[in-house]
Each structure stands twice: as structure tokens, then as C-alpha cells.
């Protein structure tokens, strides 16, 4: 049995290998490249099954057994208030949507120092537990959160935290694992046990059959239950960010709004019409990426999804860049914003497209670029657009701007 560890940070790969049962396996480490957009030189050389996991966004680590991914890990040191806890959510979704169990290491709280106020703990938004639960419910694949070790529980007063310089987070003392969480902390010990359980199951039952058994394993189901409990005890509710930025409307309003794009020869297609109601995620900000792609993915699972694909939604999921003003009389709405325009979206797409090879003549393509050219022939610009464009266009049934819109017909 041959394991491959795909990593973005080698320290963290070494850490996971050393601290789990991977240490005595036949293991090869390989550098992972996030996307064709940010690493055009190397991305095309990744195996296809790894590319599929990276399609939405890249986790920090993917472990595969005999070319089948068996789990991924995403790690964050950020304070998880508001939208921030969801910043990496699209990475988890990408993993689980490919039937690959996902681990999320995230601080329960991190110390934030702001001008003119004393340092304080910024706590995780508990809604992330609900979003992960909903992903697990749909895919029957583990998506488990473990806290990045911190002084939060032992030093509630941030000023007394011995690790205040590191936002109160506790790192492993071994410099070969620099930047990795303290491996002696109970949260990490529990995560190592869960990883070992996955290794044991897939070695015994095979990767494909083993995946279906994982949530029944006591170590993993106990964690799932703990996450449900954390959601409740931390006061989680569905009025929290990013759900607080959503509104549910009759789809009729959306269709009336989009009717401005219809004419004699074109009518909005059946997908949007097939759902009676629509969830609109309102973002009154300059058009950009983080934290919005992850938040959009989370809203899908928290509010819309009923099945494994975007076609299986109870409600349309629409992203609106601006303030939405409902017109009850005309059953439509208008959008106002001086921060974003549809051209921001289109310019980002064009900018990615300029780096692509498909318009080149054969004689203008150097040998080393031919595999990338051939990848783009097969997949078009699927991996070549910037992350937020990929994620928005994957999850949103429509994206609305004050001066334009994009939507799916089917």
C-alpha cells in the first residue's frame, strides 16, 4: 500500500506523518499547486483526481492511498468571528463533494489586538458547526472540526496569555514542524486518533467501501456529536453571519428583475423557475474574494441544499453585490451600489483568460506548455480562473449587480 501526501506546507505534512500511523507506512510527499490561475507552471502536472478536489479551493493537505484520496486537512490560525470562520469553507466542501473526509483545524478563539483597545479573544462563529453538520448530512462523509490549540480556556483574560504574541495559539515546539499546532494538546491527539481510524478502515475495507463506514465509527461519531453540542452551547443560531446577510424572497421577484434581459428570442430558463423561493446573499462591498466565496458555499448548505448537486436545492441561491430594495407593488427589486459593478466580475474573468493558451498556434507553444494546453483543451478555463470567480460561479444560480447579472438557465 502506497500513500502520497500532497501538501502546501512541508512542515505540516511532516507533522501529520510523524504524529499518526502514517509514520510506518510507505509514504511519499508531493508538493501541491493550488490552481492553474496561480501556478500555471505546475498545476497541470497534478493527477486528475487531485485537480478535482482543488477545483473550488485548495486544502492544506490531501492524503491518498493507492491514488484514491482518503482525507484532507485545512488549517487556519485566524480569528473566526462573523464571516471569517467560513473563509475556508469552500475547501471543505470541495473535499467532501468528492467523497473525501475533511478535517478543519480552527482556533476556538484567537487574540486580536486593535488600536486603542486592549487585546481580547475573538471567538469562533458557532454557525460553522451547523454548516459542517449539514454537509455531513448530505454527503454522509466526515467533515470534522478540531480546535487549533490555544490559551483560550486556560487564560480567559487575553492579557495573561503566555502566547499573546502568537494570537494566544499554541504551536508545536519541534522546529521541523514549524507553524503546526501543538501536537501534545488534547484536540490534536483526538484528531490523530480520528486520522488513524480512517487509515485503519480504508486499509481493511478499501477506500471506496471504507468511506461509507466512517461516520459509524465511534471516534468520528463522537466528534460529530461534540460539534453539535458546541453549536448549541456557544449560542449558535440561524440569525448569525453570514445567514444574517441573506433574505428569502418569492422567485417571482427574481424573474421579474431578470425579465429586463428577456426578448422575443430569449426567455430565462427552467432552473430558476423550478423553485418557488430564492435565497439572496447580499454583499454591499467592493467585488472581491475572501471571505465571500466560503460564506456563499456555507449558505448553500445551511439554507438551500437538499442533495449532492446544485440542481438539488430547495431554494435558488443568488448572490447580490449591493443593497436590495424590494418593490412589493411590481413584485420585483432594484439593486444599488457604488462599490461593485458587473464589469468587476467580467474583468476578473478576462484577466484569467489572458493567461490561457487555447488561442495560440501550435508553433507558439513551447514543449513544456503542451500538457497545460492539452489540459485546457479538455477542461477549458475550469482551473484557470481566479478562486473567487470559480467558487461564485459554481455555487450561485445567479449573480446580480446594479448594472448587470449572470444566471444559469439549467
Amino acid at each position: 500500500m502506497k500513500y502520497r501526501i500532497w501538501y502546501s506546507t512541508e512542515s505540516f505534512a511532516d507533522y501529520i506523518i510523524a504524529k499518526t500511523n502514517l509514520w510506518n507506512k510507505n509514504v511519499v510527499k508531493k508538493k501541491m499547486y493550488e490552481s492553474d490561475a496561480n501556478n500555471s507552471k505546475n498545476f497541470h502536472s497534478l493527477p486528475d483526481h487531485i485537480k478535482q478536489i482543488l477545483y473550488l479551493d485548495a486544502p492544506d493537505l490531501i492524503v491518498e492511498l493507492d491514488t484514491e484520496p482518503i482525507f484532507s486537512i485545512e488549517i487556519s490560525q485566524e480569528a473566526g468571528t462573523g464571516h471569517n470562520a467560513f473563509q475556508r469553507f469552500a475547501r471543505l466542501a470541495a473535499s467532501v463533494e468528492n467523497d473525501v473526509p475533511a478535517f478543519y483545524i480552527y482556533p476556538e478563539a484567537a487574540i486580536i489586538t486593535r488600536l486603542k483597545t486592549p487585546p481580547k479573544w475573538d471567538k469562533i462563529n458557532p454557525l460553522v458547526f451547523k454548516a459542517m453538520e449539514d454537509v455531513m448530512t448530505i454527503y454522509k462523509i466526515p467533515a470534522l472540526l478540531y480546535y487549533f490549540p490555544s490559551d483560550f480556556r486556560t487564560h480567559p483574560n487575553a492579557l495573561t496569555s503566555p502566547n499573546i504574541r502568537n494570537k494566544g495559539l499554541k504551536y508545536d515546539k519541534n522546529r521541523n514542524f514549524a507553524g503546526s499546532p501543538d501536537s501534545t494538546h488534547s484536540e490534536m491527539v483526538l484528531m490523530f486518533e480520528a486520522i488513524n481510524e480512517i487509515i485503519s478502515v480504508v486499509e481493511k475495507s478499501g477506500v471506496i467501501e471504507g468511506r461509507g463506514k466512517l461516520l459509524g465509527k465511534r471516534i468520528l461519531s463522537t466528534r460529530k456529536a461534540l460539534m453539535q453540542n458546541e453549536y448549541v452551547t456557544k449560542g449558535g443560531n440561524e440569525n448569525m453571519s453570514p445567514l444574517s446577510a441573506t433574505v428569502k424572497i418569492r422567485t417571482e421577484y427574481l424573474l421579474n428583475h431578470l425579465s429586463q434581459y428577456e426578448n422575443k428570442s430569449y426567455e430565462i430558463g427552467e432552473l430558476l423557475r423550478s423553485r418557488e423561493e430564492t435565497i439572496i446573499y447580499k454583499v454591499d462591498a467592493t467585488f472581491r474574494g475572501d471571505p465571500y466565496p466560503g460564506a456563499l458555499a456555507a449558505i448553500d448548505y445551511l439554507r438551500c441544499r437538499e442533495g449532492k448537486t446544485f440542481e438539488e436545492r430547495k431554494y435558488n441561491l443568488v448572490m447580490c453585490w449591493g443593497n436590495l430594495e424590494l418593490d412589493e407593488e411590481e413584485k420585483t427589486f432594484t439593486i444599488h451600489s457604488d462599490k461593485s459593478t458587473v464589469h468587476d466580475f467580467v474583468n476578473a474573468v478576462q484577466s484569467s483568460e489572458e493567461k490561457n493558451l487555447l488561442k495560440k498556434d501550435y508553433n507558439d507553444i513551447p514543449s513544456c506548455e503542451i500538457p497545460r494546453y492539452y489540459m485546457q483543451v479538455r477542461y477549458g478555463s475550469m482551473f484557470s480562473k481566479v478562486k473567487h470567480i470559480r467558487v461564485f460561479s459554481y455555487f450561485a444560480d445567479a449573480i446580480l449587480f446594479p448594472d448587470g447579472a449572470l444566471w444559469r438557465d439549467a
Binding site: S76, R165, N166, R175
Partner: protein, 154 residues
């Protein structure tokens, strides 16, 4: 094909070497580590929130001397100019002072940590006036002092 040295490997080897020589690590950063501490320019120089912030690759202290490292896998002139600006200007003095407020120190030195090659060594020698010190990462994590005019690492 021989595997290329990464900035992560350079930084980790220097961390281990510094600690073996009794330096206390104050902070470090390498691509993907998430551990970096951004230092912001003084208020009068700020145009936007993060404009001009820099993240030192290593900050360490020993005997009242603080050292800031800029690490790379090869010679990069812009990094040497960055180090030169840090040495000659006080653009980040407020942020650095706050960052180091719990430490007693009399001197701050700015230098580089680079993966060694003959090209890097030659180019470094042509720009020594810009930096306070230089150490090189040789094969399998061995760190050698290349330039240390005040016997910093003796």
C-alpha cells in the same frame, strides 16, 4: 531530478541553528506557515490599512541584540534593497518598538538568510553594503555564516 530547496527549508534550518546558538526566537514566517507578524509603516506613511506592511521571516534576540532576517532561496536584489531601507530609514520604528516592547535591547540588525550557490554568493558579495549580515543554507540544513561584520554570531 534534484529537489529544489524551498524558503520554508531555509527558514526552518536557520531557526534550528539560531536556537542551538542560544538565540531566542521572537517570531518567524515562511510561505504557508500562517505565523507571520505584520509590521506596519508609521502612521504618516500609511495610505491604506495594509499598505507597505512587511512580515519579517525571522526575528530573534540574544544579549540585547535583535536580528531581523529576510530569507530566500536565491539572491533577490529587491530584498537587499528592502533590508537596506529598513537599516537606513525609520519607516517602521513605531511598529517595531511596540512589537519589541517586552524585550530589553540596544541594537537591531537587519540581514539575509539565503540558500547557497556560487551565483548567490557572488551577487551577495556585490551588495554587502546593503545588509547587516548574511548566512547561507548549505546542503542538508547546514548553516554557515557568510557576512557578520561585528562578530554577531561569534
Amino acid at each position: 531530478m534534484e529537489r529544489r530547496i524551498t524558503e520554508e527549508q531555509v527558514t526552518k534550518a536557520i531557526l534550528i541553528w539560531l536556537e542551538a546558538n542560544d538565540w531566542k526566537i521572537i517570531c518567524f514566517d515562511f510561505p504557508g506557515s500562517g505565523t507571520g507578524v505584520p509590521l506596519h509603516p508609521n502612521e504618516r506613511l500609511r495610505n491604506t490599512k495594509n499598505k507597505g506592511a512587511f512580515i519579517p521571516d525571522i526575528v530573534a534576540i540574544k544579549n540585547g541584540i535583535v536580528i531581523f532576517f529576510e530569507n530566500k532561496t536565491r539572491f533577490v536584489l529587491s530584498d537587499f534593497i528592502k533590508v537596506q531601507n529598513l537599516r537606513n530609514n525609520n519607516d517602521y520604528s513605531n511598529s517595531i518598538q511596540t512589537f519589541l516592547e517586552e524585550f530589553e535591547y540596544s541594537k537591531i540588525l537587519y540581514g539575509v538568510g539565503l540558500a547557497h550557490s556560487n551565483t548567490t554568493e557572488n551577487k551577495t558579495n556585490n551588495h554587502l553594503e546593503k545588509i547587516g549580515f548574511a548566512v547561507f543554507y548549505h546542503n542538508i540544513g547546514v548553516i554557515k555564516i557568510h557576512f557578520s561584520p561585528i562578530g554577531l554570531f561569534d
